[in-house]
Amino acid sequence: MSSVYTRAINILAVLVVVVWLIPVLWVALTSVKPTNVINAPTPTFYSFEPTGEHYVEIFDRFLFDRAILNSLITVGVSTLIVMILALPAAYAVARMGLMGGDTWALVILSLRFMPGVVVVLPYFKMANWFGLIDTQIVLIVVYVAFGLPFAVWILRGFLLDLPKEVEEAARLDGLGWLQIIFRLILPMAAPGIAVTAIFTFVFSWNEYLYALFLTYDKATTMPVALQKTIDLYNVLWGSLSAGAVIQLLPMIAVVFLLQRHIARGLALGAVK
């Protein structure tokens, strides 16, 4: 391939990413506009005095600091639990000649099919019985339940891709199943695991309906706090955008850390 061709593709890649992000940039821009500029009849790009008031407001009026903390705890913990439970399960489904293994996998997946609004009422009742309403625990449990099925499925897809010889060798060396999974499979399937973790994280991070029903205010997460900027009669665009930008930052950090694993690829040589 000629270097001109490669460079052209590189430039194209950058261009696509930039165009793709225009709406996100628009959110960021909106977050520093005064409200009456936001509500002006034509879009404004630079001719306004930037303001930080929305960032103050989102913390001051909408208690965003508490929501951030809650989000990080519930989503972080639930993602961790999901990954720990899902990896062995996916391995069992993908690799271990489970009789009817396919059916198990189906059962695991089908629990996520119900529309949220139908499931949320019984969950509310259950949480009420156990006195768990408005706690981080109840959200962690729900996010684990809803993250697990898809995590198992994505991981299964990636595990099927892995070469089998290494494990065979390890088993002959006398390694146990869990050792194989966490010491061999984990590094080999790193890209898949990273993607699955991101997927699980994203799902819970943006989850709204369960957070809305199962918390009052103390354990509320960011999507709910964000929704509070929407009045019935007007949307506080500035606060909403500021909240969206703040909500984005931890995600970018998480992805930036995890994408190294996605990019690293399979270091087969190192394992062998």
Binding site: P88, F113, V142, F150, Y208, A244, V255
Partner: protein, 321 residues
């Protein structure tokens, strides 16, 4: 070419050796498999049984949220009501169209995007991080922002089209003919990069030996992707399609925030309609609808899995001499 595919195959999962093993070993392995699976299944069953029973019972009742005194069992009436409701059929039709269209577009675009980003250039990591930002922004914030951008008179989209390209302003979300299409556009914008990321991870897990062999064999360009990459990452592709299909059928956030199912009923898809029924307080009807969606998704998934397993089996059979 033939030599290469043969070389590529053994490194894929060859499937469990089902035959020719001593029974004791197989049993032992199966038991371990169940043990590994158990925690996952127990957690899920524990959390699923009560909601299913609760909603199942509810779906045979008239139970207004606003008036608990009149709650009573009514047999199949709720299901009957739904079958006679034109909006119900309309919502199922829209949902199916939606799922098929957005998943197709997202898979194709996502694959191209993955190929585009699957390169060793400086800052590729940064690009990969930036491109998936769309799925990270809360659907609430993003849905509202898109609504703002598509505002017919003052929105950014029309401003760009009008000022930049001299095109007529378009009503986007507020006209029944274009609203669904606009929603699809936003959904693709949000999910395509994420599909690209998963496919990219699949591509990155292809063993370097294979890519090297392909390079030596001068397999490149389109052939490289159709003959080598796609067959190798097929399990990942399949699972992504499956997951996106399920989530697309359950589409709620974007739909609810951007159009609430309107104008009229032109974007009224299943989950939003079900939520509307809940808002109006008809709990029994809501649960019945939920079960119908559950059945619909199960049909789709079963059909899909059937194909998936059949092709996987065929691939395994071909792998094993």
């Amino acid at each position: 070419m033939t030599a290469l595919t043969v070389e590529a195959r053994p490194s894929r999962a060859a499937g469990p050796p089902r035959q020719g093993r001593p029974g004791a070993v197989a049993r032992q392995q199966r038991r371990t498999a169940y043990l590994l699976l158990a925690p996952c299944v127990i957690v899920l069953l524990a959390l699923a049984i009560f909601p299913l029973i609760f909603s199942g019972t509810l779906s045979f009742k008239v139970d207004p949220l606003y008036n608990p005194d009149v709650a009573r069992f009514v047999g199949w009436r709720n299901y009957n009501d739904l079958f006679e409701d034109r909006r119900f059929w309309n919502s199922i039709e829209l949902t199916v169209i939606w799922a098929v269209v957005v998943v197709s577009i997202q898979m194709v675009l996502g694959f191209f995007l993955a190929v585009l980003l699957d390169r060793k250039m400086q800052g590729a990591g940064l690009l990969r991080t930036l491109i998936i930002i769309p799925v990270f922004i809360s659907p609430i914030a993003m849905g509202l922002t898109w609504r703002f951008i598509f505002e017919p008179v003052s929105g950014l989209a029309n401003w760009i089209l009008n000022t930049g390209f001299g095109l007529e302003k378009w009503t986007w979300l507020s006209h029944k003919d274009t609203a669904l299409m606009t929603l699809m556009l936003v959904d693709c914008w949000q999910w395509t990069p994420f599909i690209a990321l998963i496919l990219l991870a699949g591509m990155q897990s292809i063993s370097p030996e294979i890519t090297e062999a392909a390079r030596l064999d001068r397999v490149r360009g389109v052939t490289f992707y159709t003959r080598i990459v796609i067959p190798l990452i097929r399990p990942v592709i399949m699972v992504v399609i499956l997951i996106r299909l399920v989530d697309s059928i359950r589409i709620f956030d974007l739909n609810f925030i951007m159009t609430k199912g309107g104008p009229g009923s032109s974007t009224l898809m299943a989950s939003v309609y079900d939520y509307t029924i809940f808002e109006q307080g008809h709990l029994g009807l809501m649960a019945a609808y939920g079960f119908l969606i559950l059945i619909l998704i199960n049909i789709v998934v079963l059909a899909f899995l059937n194909t998936l397993y059949r092709t996987e089996k065929a691939a395994r059979a071909a792998d094993q001499p």
